[in-house]
Symmetry: C2
Subunit: 354 residues, 2 copies
């Protein structure tokens, strides 16, 4: 195993373990202070070791987006998992039931079709599945559109054997979130129903979650590593960024086209924000460098104004625009302190999109 | 194993084997007719089975971008591999030497630093490494900027034990390509040097390669599957698209937000062309649908004007904007004929970016 970052092949993920630990502790401290249950989303790191550390520090359980991630994490000993995704299809429902026989699994629903499937899964596996009603509070992704719809689904859950109404689910916490949740909770109370859990999430606004007192549970993923988008949005300081993609200069013909070996298959093509002109990532230590173009295995960096041309073979650390997308492209991640490589971990749940 | 596409988990890659075969044959026929050596780039499919089929049909060898891809393909029996990438760093050079002891490996260089490393690799492994001089002919990615630079490097190759001047390398074939190659070849001849191979590539302009008679070898990758970008650029017909990402409608609250389970971790965030407003992929059979937003595991599709709302659970096939990026996100691909699943292949060289 490489003992120094100098020995790592590029392009590759490098993780500063001390920064991760600080990020984990900061969020847990916030959640604890505000009596919020922290249920970190593992979609960012996809690492059993970090999920276990999050639980050790006080997380009540974890969140997974897809069943495949949940299966990996259950194998790794995570005993309380929220699958924050509408599960559909017989094969997936069978998997969900099997998982629910091993660990506590909560999931979400925003339609009668999803609920019917969950009921079948519960019956087939002989388990009770707690369900959060997925309520859109302004983000316009999944989620029922109105409190009235949420109430109708909650009543369906309460009337269905094998299902248990656990509460409400939304993402992220927006200005409309509080009023929408309040109206829905009042509707539930009017029917004699109760939402024990009100789950919301998202790293950018995480530290303002307490301003919406209806929320009881916080789901956050990106905070563990942070990235250029989080810094740009003011949700993290540059020194909170824990993961970079280490790259090598493979060609340096002229300042406006310094070529790195990290392309979209190492960084992803995600932008900080469309048309912001920030390029495809930040070159650490060269704030004026712009990654102007990204091919599958090449980055073209404009280093005009960055002093002398870097030598071919120079290693440059890149801060990804979107670390969750970048991590999912790599089979392993080097955990480091300074230049010392402590261990290399397989990104166990990488690619588990189903 | 699933026997019908109905049984496949989503999101997942689905490959129409008959379309692939037609794409392979069409390109081989073009190359043969024009006496071009076809050296397909495996970065698109990353499948040993398709590399072998390309060789069976007449390809002279294959092209790999990264050493990791080449190692997978050598293990699969590919005996003549061009690593079309500047190889740097002791560990990589050691890998290159080891590979060159097993199969014929040609590689590229655009700087004295790269050549020095290749010389070390050749010496260390006791092999001779054929080298193509990487010449920029207008694309401004890697490659020396001028024919004079190319000539200087070619002379360095000729003077270095363990290295053999194989020819010239460029990408893609542009209007400037012919004149640049001509000037460089004349320079080489003036020094008593000869480029046996003049290699160029790129699917979009592939069928015009014969218009630049200096080119002897054609490298193409995307043609095997094609994608939305190729269709948009007129390089493929819709019926030449061989790979789609099968997805499921998980939420359908209103026509402007139909949610699919395929996000950027299944499709990639690549656009056909920035600011073209075409969205993140095409929904097959729904030409008016627009994938407006893409999250890691969600696509938000505007299906206004597509008739009645699709039912939750409906399966929709998506044509990726950039199939190479999409394929690299998946561990496996289902090879199908109609709705019959013939086999499921591991995407063996997926993630081999180093």
């Amino acid at each position: 195993m490489p003992r120094s970052t100098e020995d790592l092949l590029t392009p590759g993920l490098v993780c500063d373990v001390d920064r991760v630990e600080a990020n984990l502790r900061r969020m847990q401290r916030y959640a604890s202070e505000h009596h919020l249950a922290l249920r970190p989303h593992i979609k960012t790191h996809k690492l059993p070791a970090l999920a276990r550390r999050q639980l050790e520090l006080g997380a009540v359980g974890i969140t997974c987006q897809k069943l495949g991630e949940a299966e990996v994490m259950a194998d790794a000993g995570c005993a309380d998992i929220l699958v924050s995704y509408e599960v559909l299809g017989e094969r997936n429902l069978w998997r969900l039931g099997a998982l629910a026989r091993r660990v506590r699994v909560t999931t979400v629903a925003d339609s009668p079709e999803v609920l019917a499937g969950l009921a079948w899964a519960a019956g087939r596996a002989g388990v009770c599945i707690p369900v959060l009603i997925d309520l859109d509070t302004g983000y316009h992704r999944s989620g029922v559109a109105t409190p009235a719809h949420a109430l109708a689904l909650a009543q369906q859950v309460a009337a269905t054997p094998g299902l248990e109404l656990a509460g409400l689910f939304t993402y992220p916490t927006l200005p409309e979130t509080g009023p929408r949740l309040r109206e829905t909770l009042q509707g539930l109370a009017g029917c004699g129903l109760r939402a024990v859990v009100v789950s919301s999430g998202g790293t950018p606004g995480a530290l303002d979650t307490h301003l919406v007192p209806e929320v009881t549970e916080l789901r956050v993923g990106t905070y563990v590593y942070n990235d250029r988008t989080m810094v740009h949005r003011g949700a993290a300081a540059p020194e909170d960024v824990a993961v970079t993609v280490l790259s090598t200069v493979i060609s340096a013909q002229e300042p406006e086209r310094v070529i790195l070996d990290a392309g979209s298959k190492a960084l992803s093509s995600d932008l900080v924000q469309h048309d912001l002109g920030l390029g495809y990532g930040e070159v650490l230590g060269h704030p004026r460098a712009v990654i102007r173009r990204l091919y599958e295995e090449h980055a073209v960096v404009d280093m005009t104004g960055c002093g002398s041309l870097p030598r071919v073979g120079t290693r440059l650390a890149l801060v990804p625009n979107h670390v969750c997308a970048a991590v999912n492209l790599h089979d392993e991640i080097a955990m480091v302190r300074g230049t010392e490589v402590l261990e290399i971990l397989p990104v166990a749940a990488r690619g588990r999109s189903r």
